[in-house]
Amino acid sequence: MADHALLEMRHINKLFPGVKALSDVDFTLRKGEIHALMGENGAGKSTLIKVLTGVYQNDGGEIRVEGKNISIRSPQDAQNNGISTVYQEITLCPNLTVAENMFIGREKDVFVHNRRREKRANELLGELGIPARGSQMLGNCSLAVQQMVAIARAVDMNCKVLILDEPTSSLDDKEVNVLFGLMRDLKARGVGIIFVTHFLEQVYEVCDRITVLRNGELVGEYLTEELPQVQLVAKMIGKDLDEISSFGEVEEKEFSDADIFYEAKKLSSSDALPFDFEIHKGEVNGFTGLLGSGRSESVRAIFGADKVNGGTVKINGKHVKITKPIDAMKNGIGYLAEDRKRDGIIADLSVRENIILALQVMKGFFKPISRSESEAFADEYIKVLNIKTASRETPIGSLSGGNQQKVILARWLLTHPDYLILDEPTRGIDVGTKLEIQKLVLKLAEDGVAVTFISSEIEEMLRTCSRLIVMRDRRIVGELKGSDLNQAQVMKTIAGGES
């Protein structure tokens, strides 16, 4: 076994002030294998990856590549040792071209040949089946393509160890398949791939082995075929599965027109075509569709996040004008944005300040929430949502993704909205937190709050929504409820199979 070991990490420790992020963790990657690294938020996956890529330095233990002891003190060291990473959040430069992004920082020539660089980029992109041209501005490409460009960049660096940190969270199924093809291709070439993801199905589709971490400790390493999916989840969250299975089918609820909370007619914005939509008190509905189908743009129009162009909106039967987020907020609407890092967190501010932000805005500029009051709010929601943070004054940027998301949720819950829009609240967060959020959504609905829930995992929506609005090419193409609410029907509607 050890002969084939490409990368060995032994007894890795990592300390942060007040937290032991990694405790005596072992990890082994073999040549030509795809190895899933699994764990909940705060399990230590990201930290382990960052130790491996030189972002952090380990406080103990050793790292060997092909049997040789190495020390990784910077990302440059990692690259020199053949370790490349594609991170969860795109870390390329949107204002450079695709080609520039692929070759930036590793060209030895002072004089750069634009033409030649673009040619080389185009060859590689073609080889990998990536729908982009070298001369395109990266920022003009979809998130999915940007992600793939990042992978192409790593591939071109002839890496031995490729780390993919949540590469599929912003890709649609077709793109995921292209990526998997690429991963298998690399595997055949002898590259070892560390695959970090929250999509269990994907793990079972491509991975040979699974290493599970929990609370900074190693749970174990398993062959994929020997570990049933249920077992995997159990090992990750470390509790039995009753809770997971306790999710039944969504109860059918009857809504009368009198219960309509929000109603839009011909609502359109700079980014969304006119559409009609209504939601009842206590109802959970979902918007689904492929990437770019207009599901996010539609809910942004509801919240006034983009420039609203036309349409009429009624809340509780009364006409209202919502053109700015503050209008929506004053009418009891909350909106958790799709891109947490860009549109959600205020990274340098504390958990407390992030929690009270929306409420403070609603109360107004001249009525600040007092320090003691805000501390009470923060403590309450840290407890209720089980947010893992060193203290309420910790900057939100240093929390794990799932906990950041909980803080943003807390922010909106604190405004006691009548209607809460959650756009991809579970993206890039661990299974345990996902379940917590789903439960929270159902609980809110029980309390009479209208909820719009968007997720790229259809199963998740089937578990929570009683009505699904399906979009394709920026238009609503179907509305499913009752017995139509099943995976097959949703797929069919998305794909446009009905005739």
Binding site: L15, P17, Q57, D59, F303, A305, K324, P325, I326, M329, Y335, A337, R342, D343, G344, I345, I346, A347, D348, L349, E353, I356, L357, A358, Q360, V361, M362, G364, F365, F366, K367, P368, E393, R411
Partner: protein, 359 residues
């Protein structure tokens, strides 16, 4: 116990560590050089008041305009992620407006001085709003937007003056720039304290601090949380305008003379430096106003120290630059990280040593 101490060290000082250490170092350096450097005496000035005197008083007094401008600049920096380089020129305009009103009436009494001050504030706020509009609505980079006023501000001041160096002779104006009869503390110092208290109150009774930081750190998220980021940026420039007017009026009152070419000349760069020395990111976002104020005093201790050492004033700027480079480098993320790492390593060693001893 130990934890408490550690927390105070870590959270209590935090961003202010560097400027406070800088002040301490300068103080120690001066005490070694000349133990009587910080001696404070009570003298009787030519108007017959008992007043405080000494290098320390000179420093605190002379830094007043800079400290006030640094307060406003901190807000602009935090909200817009850029700096206003027109504060010196705008202060000349405000000072000119102040003198213009003072000279328009016959006798200068308290009411006229108050009126003149209000006019100066309004004028400076208008120019602040002009800068702010370019930045917040037209999305022009702050340095470029304020370059316009930087270039033409002193000409506008001249035009208001209608002459080169108008003077005002009034006991009230003298009191603003010097000492109020019966009060041994220089009036500009009292004004700085008043401004600091006003800001403290504004932060307490409004959400300015939270909103400004939110806009500066993540404008997109701030917008989606209902914050009107255009207004917040504009507001920061208008508030800076008020600070500019106060600084300009102090500058004029010190000598009872407005020279549009030299009033608060080159102060814009010192102001930006004060903000930076205070540990605030010039890229905007989180800020600590106290840091900028301390930064202003650091700059002036440095100047006065160099004068006391009889460094030729042509060389003063070079020496200042050296010290400031050191300060800014020490405050840079790279060095901070290195310090944190070294500290952690020492702590680890210490932590492991007693454990072995216990066993």
């Amino acid at each position: 116990m130990k934890n408490n101490f550690k927390n105070i060290f870590k959270n209590g000082l935090g961003q202010l560590t560097i400027p406070i250490i800088a002040i301490l170092l300068l103080v120690i350096f001066n005490l070694i050089r000349d133990p009587s450097f910080f001696r404070i005496t009570i003298e009787i000035d030519n108007a017959g008041n008992r007043v405080l005197a000494g290098n320390l008083i000179s420093i605190i007094n002379a830094a007043s305009e800079l400290a006030i401008l640094a307060m406003g600049m901190t807000l602009v920096t935090a909200a817009s992620g850029g700096q206003d380089i027109s504060v010196g020129a705008a202060a000349a305009i405000a000072g000119s407006a102040f003198v213009k009103v003072l000279k328009s009436g016959g006798n200068i009494n308290g009411l006229i001085v108050l009126l003149a001050f209000v006019v100066a504030v309004i004028v400076a706020m208008c120019f602040g709003a002009f800068n702010g509009t370019l930045v917040s609505i037209f999305k022009i980079q702050p340095m470029i937007a304020t370059l316009i006023l930087f270039t033409c501000g002193r000409s506008i001041a001249y035009w208001i003056n209608g002459g080169a160096t108008p003077t005002v002779d009034s006991s009230i104006v003298k009191a603003i720039g010097g000492f109020i009869p019966g009060c041994p503390i220089p009036t500009p110092v009292l004004i700085v304290i008043a401004m600091a208290i006003i800001f403290k109150l504004v932060f307490h009774f409004t959400s300015l601090e939270l909103f400004t930081q939110s806009v500066g750190i993540n404008g997109s998220a701030a917008k989606l949380n209902g914050i009107n980021s255009t207004w917040i940026k504009l507001l920061s420039f208008i508030i800076l305008g008020a600070c500019v007017a106060v600084a300009g009026c102090i500058g004029v009152s010190r000598l009872g003379l407005i020279n549009h070419e030299t009033l608060l000349i080159d102060i814009e760069m010192d102001t930006i430096l004060a903000v930076a020395i205070g540990g605030n990111s010039l890229g905007g976002g989180k800020f600590k106003m106290a840091g900028s104020i301390i930064g202003a005093y650091v700059i002036h201790i440095l100047t006065v120290t160099l004068y006391a050492m009889k460094v030729p004033s042509t060389d003063v700027k070079a020496y200042k630059a050296i010290v400031i480079i050191i300060l800014v480098v020490i405050g840079s993320p790279v060095i901070k990280k290195w310090f944190a790492k070294t500290a952690a390593r020492i702590k680890n060693k210490k932590a492991s040593a007693p454990m072995k001893g216990a066993q």
